[in-house]
Symmetry: C2
């Protein structure tokens, strides 16, 4: 079976799940922590080398403050959970904004760099315009372009897995996503289970790899 080297996950649907469960929208995010840990363990078990979580974006921060506080706190908790799971961890996002949680500043340098641990990237207060906001490219050379984006330590994505039924990137890493295969599931993120992960891998295995060729 062909296993993607790098999976990015868009953990969407927390607010809809909360409403469906009789909770307030912002109460959905903490219910996304267990699926986040499960997703990591499945990546480790199946031999995925790199995992990127779409934590929250600068666009998301236009939502009501109670929601912003809730998903920001969930990302802090997620990092605290993940760091103990044998990973090489990096938090990527705009640290110059007050919306970047200060507790995560120490993680903006990659941990465990010289290990064989799975590389885990958590996007926190990420914006595509922040990522591309200070580029000076001088040729069509792809390595040159990669070197100029702020997320340059995150590699090309093979598979995007999006929960919550939408089929769009919503600003996720535009350079790393150019050739990514995109798996969309109608399951809401708090309901994510191993079988959904296996469905994504089986679907990916049925695709060809052309890198645009």
């Amino acid at each position: 079976m062909r296993i993607p080297k790098h999976i990015a996950v868009i953990p969407d649907g927390n607010r809809r799940w909360a409403e469906n469960t009789g909770l307030k929208k912002h109460q959905g995010y903490t219910h996304g922590l267990d699926p986040g840990l499960l997703f990591l363990k499945l990546c480790q078990r199946y031999g995925v080398k790199e995992l990127t979580y779409y934590g929250f974006t600068t666009d998301n921060c236009k939502r009501p403050k109670v929601q912003v506080n809730a998903f920001s706190e969930a990302c802090v908790q997620a990092v605290k959970i993940i760091e103990n799971e044998g990973v090489s961890l990096l938090v990527v996002g705009n640290t110059e904004s007050e919306l970047f949680p200060k507790e995560l500043l120490p993680y903006t340098t990659r941990t465990n760099q010289d290990t064989d641990f799975i590389r885990v990237n958590m996007l926190v207060n990420y914006g595509w315009e922040w990522d591309l906001g200070h580029m000076h490219t001088s040729s069509n050379n792809r390595k040159n372009i990669y070197s100029q984006i702020k997320s340059h330590d995150i590699s090309r994505i093979d598979l995007v897995v999006r929960l919550g039924g939408r089929n769009r990137l919503s600003g996720l890493l535009p350079i790393q996503s150019v050739y990514a295969d995109f798996f969309s599931s109608n399951i809401m993120w708090p309901d994510f289970k191993e079988e959904n992960f296996v469905s994504a891998l089986n679907w990916y295995n049925s695709q060809d790899v052309t890198l645009g060729g």
Copy 2:
């Protein structure tokens, strides 16, 4: 019904269609011309304001020469057909390469600029690395970033329609695609019919618009 302002179409599946029909792979491309004209007429009828065709890419040019010649020639023919249909037409791609068809050089300046005609963009010898290859951005300002890409005259995409069953961008306009909804159809491009267009519009109408928020 909510109609997308800007649709990009990825007309994939010509080669598979040809093989299924008993033709050689490269013979599929000319069978994509009629669907291309139909797609334009449907956009005009439904009030879409801008249409982008994913003609061919620098990545595609790694294929056998007989195929490269065939899809390049099909793009030239497509432009000749489309230009008479009441459109404001622009061809976008790397003209400095010998793989750019010389017949299309006159179309790299937009035609009928001050009309209410639908804006039609044809990507020809396009590469994402070419598009982003000479950027000098100085802030996170989106207009500044747009102004620096070579495809700056192509606006944000609302809906990507991909024929041929894949669910990926394959390098299509990474900046314009950041918030695009993505509709994938298993129909091969030469078999594209009005009902597939209507399916795409109905699906788009069922999505919400958040622009990442």
